[in-house]
Symmetry: C2
Subunit: 232 residues, 2 copies
């Protein structure tokens, strides 16, 4: 079976290296000067994400579904219910996973040269099911660790019934392309003297103060306190 | 032709009302208590977005492409080059456009009940080309107005050559479903006494101070100054 990962193959699969060069499918054609194909850029964009969008199709057409994701080694992981239409479809054919970070609005002198600063990655391939139980639990714990370091040890861990109802899938970060735009606008030479302010209006994903569940009487622990204090 | 919009049909098309009830394709099955199908929710999620992800497929498989978007009346609009593979494909078959806002991480007592707070919309249908030149320019200006109110009047406006190279597409906000999660975690009764902090770790998209292009000697105008001062 090509759509499952056994424990013994997992370790070797984790050493997969990125292609580094575009495939027929990942070669960026439009605004190709913003293309990047290196593993470090792929990883950095994935590691800064909490969610991805996945394109797949079935008898109802194309679907674009948002879902939580995390990186573990050379793979991107997702999880959900055994009963999920999406998860069942994703191991049946090649799909495309995209992550996008919007960093700013780019204000040029001409309307035409307005743009956005961004970091995006598109990953092609097929998801495979994580069938080894230890691997499945370990990577779900690494998901929690990525979200809120320190919390895994305190929560009521997933039990056998919960894990039995859960599907974990992963896809290799192998056939991937990035597009990255950063910095000031690029105007045509003849527009440079146009009397309008030019520059970038930046965005940031920021963290607000933790909101304690009204039903929770416990104090905010250190690892939660740190949420909105450090860098995001 | 069903994939183009002429000036005369544009006005009447703008009065299209939302379905309000799910179609076979938009009925939410998983965690259906978070589903919403009303026009106000669709609009609010679209209006808070700068970008969407579009799922479509061609002979290379499924693609998930991030692109800037804006709402004008009862439609979602996108734009790009006449030469764009994506834009050429989008008028040829039904596709799916998704917008997702991540509002927070939901920390439950049990690992299994951890979740995210979010607002998402999935729109199905076919894009149509905006062929009327006045309609095309008016909606591109409304895009600029939505991004940075006040700027349109100052920039060097798009010229005939630039507009001739640009394709603008729109899709009706008609066959759409939303999923929205907000508020505290939902734990099972038997986990409520587990001694771990529970609550929400919120995110916000925030605006940082404008960055003037090093090649620009002009002062920051009021409408740019307001960027990082008011609410996002
Ligand atoms: C925040 C944001 C806003 C954008 N807004 C617009 C817009 O308004 N109009 C517009 O035309 N384009 C926009 N883009 C660019 C858009 O994502 C596509 O790159 C572009 O539309 C060309 O699509 P295509 O299918 O014709 O590309 P092609 O260049 O033909 O795509 C070929 C291959 O290149 C790779 N690739 C293409 N785009 C990306 C990407 N963004 N990230 C990683 N790999 C990629 C994929 O492997 C793809 O299959 C935006 C991108 C971002 C991140
Ligand atoms: C930020 C975020 C994180 C998420 N993380 C996960 C995760 O880790 N695991 C997981 O299983 N699910 C996650 N979801 C939910 C995910 O988007 C899907 O709703 C879910 O995976 C079920 O997919 P399905 O195709 O099986 O759904 P079905 O319920 O069978 O979908 C049927 C129809 O319902 C509508 N619909 C489904 N999902 C959405 C949506 N999100 N927004 C608007 N309309 C929708 C569409 O019209 C779709 O075709 C997340 C959603 C968000 C917004
Ligand atoms: C209103 C402000 C505008 C913004 C924020 C904006 C944003 C963008 C972005 C982010 C892209 C993608 C570029 C990339 O792939 O890196 C793009 C592409 C494009 N935009 Fe705009 N745009 C704006 C106005 C305009 C106007 C007014 C026109 C035409 C008059 C226009 C024509 C185009 C074209 C043709 C492309 C395709 C570039 C290519 O694929 O080669 N844009 N725009
Ligand atoms: C680590 C922290 C976790 C987070 C942030 C998280 C997040 C999410 C999110 C956002 C969803 C989508 C719910 C929706 O559609 O509204 C989801 C679904 C799901 N999660 Fe998790 N999860 C976590 C841990 C777990 C664990 C440990 C398990 C199993 C032991 C699990 C099993 C599931 C299942 C089965 C679903 C599908 C729900 C459905 O479609 O009915 N999750 N999760």
């Amino acid at each position: 079976m090509t759509d499952t990962v056994a424990a013994d193959t997992a370790a070797s699969a984790d050493t997969t290296t990125f292609a580094g060069a575009p495939s027929e499918r990942t070669r960026v054609r439009r605004v190709a000067e913003n293309a990047r194909y290196d593993a470090a850029t792929v990883r950095a964009i994935v590691d800064d994400a909490y969610l991805c969008h996945i394109a797949f199709s079935d008898d109802k057409g194309s679907h674009c579904i948002p879902t939580a994701c995390w990186r573990d080694g050379e793979h991107l992981y997702i999880h959900g219910s055994n009963g999920s239409r999406m998860l069942r479809r994703l191991v049946e054919s090649d799909i495309c996973v995209t992550i996008t970070h919007l960093d700013g609005l780019v204000m040029a002198r001409s309307a035409f040269n307005h743009s956005m600063n961004y970091r995006s990655v598109m990953i092609y391939g097929r998801f495979e099911k994580v069938t080894d139980e230890a691997h499945k639990r370990r990577t779900m714990e690494s998901f929690m660790d990525r979200l809120v370091p320190g919390r895994q040890a305190e929560v009521r861990a997933g039990n056998d019934k919960e894990y039995a109802a859960t599907t974990v899938l992963r896809i290799a970060l192998a056939e991937a392309a990035c597009k990255v735009r950063a910095g000031a606008p690029t105007d045509d030479a003849e527009d440079m003297a146009w009397p309008v302010w030019a520059g970038v209006l930046p965005f940031e994903r920021s963290r607000l103060a933790p909101q304690t569940d009204p039903a929770c009487a416990l104090a905010v622990p250190d690892y939660v306190q740190r949420w909105s204090e450090g860098a995001q």
